[in-house]
């Protein structure tokens, strides 16, 4: 059962990584304009979301 001692922390670390990624995406303004992003993908030029 000692395998759990490092498997569970690894699982939690990966989960936290996901949570961190989500919070980063939130902070970087990727949820500001959900309808716009769906249309922007049709545009070939590079552009980035506005950061607050």
């Amino acid at each position: 059962m000692s395998v759990l001692l490092y498997l569970i922390p690894i699982a939690l670390f990966l989960g936290l990584l996901g949570l961190g990624a989500f919070i980063w995406s939130l902070r970087s303004g990727q949820y500001e304009d959900l309808d716009g992003e769906a249309l922007r993908i049709l545009d070939d030029d590079d552009d980035r979301p506005i950061v607050d």
């Binding site: 759990l4 989500f22 939130l26 304009d33 959900l34 716009g36 506005i50």
Partner: protein, 762 residues
């Protein structure tokens, strides 16, 4: 004052001075936010962004498609922000600068981000704890079980502390005001579950409820976030309508130079220039110029009023025919508008007394639950001969099992779906309790001008008018912005008549138009000016115009109001649903009676002041009636605030939209019927959800009181009841698909004839 909608599209292009709205950022850069209502497709985004990039000195421009806004940033202090508006205009987009902190966008944004972060944390914790809990339920024992429980505790406690804050805050607010709401039992259950589980784990016990506590928060946060986002979207749509209204005035200084000043900078005695086609921005006295003003938004009067030097004009009136200079006489405290605002403040107190359905239920629910938990504690103490730990455990598990997860979702889930259905159909709900109040309504009171009617006159079918006179009148009226002139031009187009050529047309503000037709002088205008002697015509209070051709008897054209599309059908449906439908108007008796008779209303009142309207609505409320007030004008605002529920069209005055619970876009009055229908269905679903949640408790509470509720039982029962409640609420979304589309798509102008046609109710 002003609006941008069905009635006066060209108002959006009113002059603006972008420099006033420029904000300086912390990093020293400049920022300008603009509302651009014309953004509607993918191409718009790249057209605007690429177009603005061409401006020298502009750092970046970003379109927000969902909000139909553009945010521009630059660092060069020399950059002229006016060029952004000019460039957008060149690209074909009307734009209006605004201050995002004024319109309330910034505040909403922070709140929704906080909810989303709380949701993410709760989701992460709930997922991982459930993972560990399943291993425990599957038979983990001894040290392994304790290890799993400790990891769960490590995840759950910070997650509860972080994600539970919206609930704890709201519960604390309610308790500190000696009130009860659903968040009180929710907070209590989550906190006791966490405490008890911690105690259990410390004592190497088998049962821990961390999973139940955190997934409860997770479910409830989903509901709360969706609810918040829906309302934020509706609110921002409403505040954008307001942003488009005039926020300043063109002021003339001593030397006659023009300057655009924002509202705050205006002072008594200033001279304001109002061009034809603009709204008068301030209360004042006309100093130069003659014109006709449309005061329908202020008084409900449908016939334009003639004003000349010395006449008083009020903010919100539409200047129709000639430019005027207005000297500002009242500003701030003593305007007509501030009188209306004082009336509204008294009227709104009655509405804030409304207690929401869920909170009313919580008032009964929470005491019952707490009594049951207490009874469990004492029952087990007696049964086990004062074994405190076991008795407390069972009492707390009653609290956890009865935690109103389904109850907490019962209202928000329905509300999210309902406001989604209404939003897609052009109705924006500003207040969460509006849906509940709307469902109770038993009387509907409409305003006339701008609400039941379009505020656009239409040439009456009655009366002998020759084709030739119509053609001459249309020739004269072709270039005029006066609503009656436009009605004549429209009538001629509809009848397929070719307008005669009239030369040398001159507009005489306040009187009419003159010109030359086949060598004879012709006049189209007020009856007196055209020399009409007919007593019957002169004493009529319907809007009228006369056409005088040199050497002939003058011809009188009479006008009626154009009803909003679907007005007749909407009134018929509301009456069929057992509601009393009335109309109160500030307009004169003739036009009001005509509309009332056409729509077969249960009652009508004409020539009423805002005070009378307010008194009438309050009187009905005292008599126990629940009134839905539908109106658009400044004069309707106090009555809108006093109504049990209220609606305003998006073309309404700013203050009308502010006072109303719901705002509908588009011309069709069907929105009123739809809003009520959706509200009634929502309430039915909410009741079903409550009944289900209570039935679940009736089954689960005895199990918990008997001490048989395991964490597995709690998790399964709570999730199942939440899912059932959400699934039931989603049924309302199906309504959107089943809506009577033919009613929705009734075309302009045929509403009147369709009143009698019986069709299946949606």
């Amino acid at each position: 004052m002003g609006c941008c909608g069905v009635r006066y599209d060209d108002e959006c292009a009113a002059p603006g001075s972008a420099a006033i709205w420029v904000r300086q950022n912390d990093d020293g850069g400049y920022e300008l936010n603009l509302v651009v209502p014309g953004i509607h497709c993918a191409a718009c985004i790249s057209t605007i962004e690429k177009g603005l990039k061409e401006l020298p000195g502009l750092g970046e421009a970003r379109v927000n498609f969902s909000l139909k806004q553009v945010r521009a940033r630059w660092t060069d202090p020399e950059f002229d922000p006016e060029s952004i508006v000019a460039k957008l205009d060149e690209l074909g987009y009307a734009a209006r600068p605004f201050d995002p902190s004024d319109a309330g966008f910034g505040v909403d944004d922070r709140e929704s981000r906080e909810l989303l972060r709380a949701l993410a944390v709760a989701g992460f914790a709930a997922g991982n704890i459930m993972f560990l809990s399943i291993s425990v339920w599957a038979g983990a024992e001894g040290a392994t079980r304790d290890f799993f429980h400790w990891v769960s505790a490590l995840l759950a406690l910070p997650a509860i502390a972080y994600s539970g804050r919206p609930f704890f805050r709201s519960a604390w607010n309610a308790l500190s005001r000696a009130r009860m709401n659903m968040d009180v039992p929710i907070s209590l259950a989550v906190l006791t579950a966490a405490m008890m589980s911690l105690y259990q784990v410390a004592n190497h016990q088998q049962h821990a409820y961390f999973d139940a506590a955190v997934s409860l928060l997770f479910f409830l946060l989903i509901g709360r976030y969706l609810d918040h986002r829906m309302r934020a979207r509706a609110r921002s749509a409403v505040s954008q309508l307001m942003t488009l209204a005039a926020t300043g005035a063109t002021v003339l200084d001593e030397e006659g130079r023009k300057r655009f000043l924002p509202m705050d900078a205006l002072q008594n005695g200033m001279r304001v220039l109002v061009a034809a086609g603009e709204r008068i921005p301030v209360d004042g006295v006309v100093e130069e110029g003659d014109t006709d003003v449309d005061v329908s938004l202020i008084t409900g009067e449908s016939n334009p009023e003639r004003v000349g030097p010395g006449a008083r004009v009020y903010a919100g009136a539409m200047n129709l025919t000639g430019p005027v200079v207005v000297r500002l006489t009242a500003h701030g405290e003593d305007t007509f508008l501030s009188e209306i605002i004082r009336l509204m403040a008294t009227a709104e107190e009655s509405r804030s007394a409304y207690v929401r359905l869920a909170d009313r239920l919580a008032g009964y629910y929470a005491p019952v639950v707490h009594v049951l938990a207490g009874a469990t504690l004492f029952g087990w103490l007696w049964w086990t001969n004062f074994d405190w730990p076991v008795s407390l455990l069972h009492a707390i598990s009653v609290l956890i099992i009865t935690c109103p997860c389904a109850l907490g979702l019962a209202v928000p889930a329905v509300q999210v779906v309902a406001s989604g259905v209404l939003f897609r159909n052009g109705v924006m709900i500003k207040d969460g309790s509006a849906l509940e109040r709307m469902a109770d309504v038993d009387t509907v009171i409409f305003d006339k001008t701008g609400t039941l009617t379009m505020g656009e006159p239409k040439l009456s079918e009655r009366g002998p008018v020759s084709i030739e006179s119509l053609a001459v009148a249309a020739g004269l009226a072709a270039g005029s912005a006066h609503p009656l002139s436009r009605a004549i031009v429209k009538a001629v187009e509809e009848r397929g008549i070719e307008p005669e050529t009239v030369t040398g047309v001159v507009e005489h503000p306040g009187r009419g138009l003159s010109g030359t037709w086949r060598g004879r002088s012709v006049r189209l205008g007020s009856l007196e000016w055209c020399g009409v002697r007919d007593e019957a015509a002169l004493s009529s209070d319907m809007p009228q115009l006369a056409l005088a051709v040199e050497g002939r008897q003058p011809v009188v054209f009479s006008f009626t109001d154009t009803l909003r599309p679907d007005a007749a059908e909407t009134v018929r449906r509301l009456k069929a649903a057992g509601l009393r439908v009335e109309m109160i108007s500030g307009d004169r008796e003739g036009p009001v009676r005509a509309v009332a008779e056409e729509l077969d209303l249960d009652g009508w009142k004409a020539a009423w002041s805002p005070q009378q309207k307010l008194a009438y609505v309050e009187g009905l409320a005292e008599a126990g009636r629940k009134v839905l007030m539908v109106g658009d004008g400044i004069n309707d605002a106090p009555a809108l605030a006093a109504g049990y529920a209220s609606m305003a069209p998006s073309t309404a005055s700013d203050i009308g939209r502010t006072a109303a619970d719901m705002v509908f876009v588009g011309a069709s009055l069907r929105a009123v019927w739809l809003a009520r229908e959706v509200s009634v269905r929502s309430r039915r679903l909410m009741t079903q959800n409550f009944v289900w949640a209570i039935a679940y408790n009736v089954f689960a509470v005895p199990v918990a009181m008997a001490g048989l509720a395991s964490p597995l039982f709690a998790a399964v029962a709570m999730s199942a009841s939440s899912i059932i409640v959400v699934a039931n609420s989603l049924r309302l979304g199906l309504m959107d698909r089943n809506l009577d589309r033919s009613f929705a798509l009734t075309t302009y102008g045929e509403a009147g004839e369709r009143g009698g046609i019986r069709r299946k109710a949606a």
